[in-house]
């Protein structure tokens, strides 16, 4: 009798434990981030955890997140974001117009100065965090600064989750860019950087046309940050089994917006019938 009860409760217990462990968890700046922001982020991550997808979610999604479930998205976030701090303006206040920003790209300037120019006494960018500082000595340090726009009551859950997926991608750098590319990056000439160079922290390029022409808000290489958001939002619209119509339409809006940030070349790439897998590794993995 006891053995039968144990067999029945053990799977339930394991499911509860694993569902708790699988949830993405970060370290918050408890000084600059208000309890309100932290509570909203917790709520958003809980909602992410509860998303259910059909097993036949798009192959590109499965290639990118290495699976077809919310747990896979959480794992993707866990690998890339560790610290949630504040995105501050010049006055040291929360940046009003920002949802959030990954500070990983600041690693590139540091790397160029220390490893290419061989400057002495150059240190990794330091960011204030709680009572301490965090050094962006590697893209996978995973510092995400949250702005005031995250709290905008008109923002949607799907838009915020899309932002998490987008920003997390900036923590990836499979290969350090060439010296030529690094020199272009530090001179803010991203439009001249090779696709391989852009893929280190998945830099944006100036948009060539449309409403954002000239803004550093487009992707010219495959599997970048806007592609990440597109894949997530598209999957919610197409394959979420427990999403409301509101969530699905919000996700569809995010997916279309992300698509407009991809160059024609990247959109053409995403239409390939058999996509080559993205490189989701970090340059340390290759050492």
């Amino acid at each position: 009798m006891f053995r039968v009860s144990c067999l029945k409760t053990l799977p339930v217990f394991l499911l509860l434990v694993s569902s708790t462990l699988a949830r993405a968890e970060f370290v918050y700046d408890t000084v600059k981030l208000t309890p309100q922001i932290r509570a909203l982020i917790d709520s958003d991550l809980k909602a992410l955890h509860q998303l259910k997808f059909r097993p036949d979610v798009a192959p590109a999604f499965q290639l990118f997140f290495k699976g077809s479930s919310a747990e896979d998205i959480e794992h993707y976030l866990d690998e890339r974001i560790h610290y949630i701090g504040a995105d501050l303006d010049d006055q040291g206040e929360l940046e009003a117009s920002s949802f959030g920003a990954n500070y990983a790209p600041s690693f590139l300037r540091y790397h160029y100065r220390s490893q290419v120019l061989l400057e002495k006494d150059v240190s990794a960018p330091l960011l204030s965090f709680s009572e301490d500082t965090i050094a962006i000595s590697h893209p996978r340090v995973g510092f995400m600064g949250i702005g005031l726009a995250y709290l905008d009551e008109d923002s949607t859950l799907m838009d915020r989750l899309d932002t998490w997926v987008h920003e997390a991608r900036h923590s990836d750098c499979a290969h350090i860019p060439s010296h030529t590319d690094l020199a272009l990056i530090v001179r803010n000439q991203n439009q001249k950087v090779s696709p391989e160079g852009l893929a280190c922290t998945h830099l944006h390029v100036p948009c060539q046309s449309g409403g954002l022409k000239g803004e550093l808000a487009c992707d010219a290489h495959p599997w970048g940050a806007y592609s990440a958001g597109y894949l997530f939002s598209k999957a919610v619209y197409q394959s979420c089994t427990n999403c409301s119509q509101k969530d699905r339409q919000d996700a569809l809006a995010s997916a279309t917006e992300n698509l407009t940030r991809l160059t024609s070349r990247v959109k053409h790439f995403m239409k390939m019938p058999k996509l080559p897998a993205p490189d989701m590794s970090s340059f340390d993995d290759h050492e």
């Binding site: 117009s97 920003a101 905008d152 803004e215 808000a217 339409q249 698509l259 407009t260």
Partner: protein, 180 residues
């Protein structure tokens, strides 16, 4: 034990029968009983058997100075989008697109209620999808995707209309649809 083996299947059969009955009642519900009817009340379209099914009279639309297209929802324009995104290029969805999505949700909720509702709403989405380039590409694409989704959900009524729409989409909208 023997009694419960007989009762359980019988109870299940009754439950399934009730569910089928309720579902048939719901899909056959006249338009007036649909609590979401007021969402597209202004876009009343004649019934499936009417020869003028595809035409909308001007009186059935919400034609206003702000909404000259007469659609039940307002199409965001590219100019407004540009202004909003230029102000906050990394601030998530611009308000004009959020607002459009907010209007689309109850419309699509209603459209999926029944074939009759889907038939009523499809032309709205079609018109939106085929709007000129001054209407935001994202909005036109959202309309196209939702229209095609409806045609898949109600193939008996809308599959031909879906195919026709797909063939008429401008290239930039068709490209978005292909990727969505």
């Amino acid at each position: 034990m023997t009694m419960s083996k007989k009762i359980i299947p019988a109870v299940l059969a009754v439950v399934i029968a009730i569910a089928i009955y309720v579902n048939e009642r719901r899909t056959a519900a006249p338009r007036d009983e649909n609590p979401l009817a007021q969402v597209t009340e202004s876009a009343a379209i004649s019934s499936a058997n009417s020869p003028s099914e595809s035409k909308q009279t001007a009186a059935s639309r919400e034609e206003t100075a702000d909404n000259p297209s007469g659609l039940a929802f307002e199409l965001p324009d590219t100019q407004t989008y540009r202004q909003q995104v230029a102000a906050h290029p990394h601030g998530g969805l611009p308000p004009v697109l959020r607002e459009f999505s907010r209007k689309m949700a109850p419309l699509m909720e209603s459209a999926h209620e029944s074939e009759a509702r889907a038939r009523e709403i499809f032309p709205q989405l079609e018109q939106c999808a085929l709007s000129g380039a001054s209407a935001l590409l994202q909005a036109r694409s959202i309309c196209a995707v939702n229209a095609l989704d409806l045609s898949n959900s109600f193939p008996d009524a809308l599959s031909k209309k879906g195919r026709d729409l797909r063939a008429k989409l401008p290239p930039e909208v068709a490209e978005m649809v292909d990727l969505l």
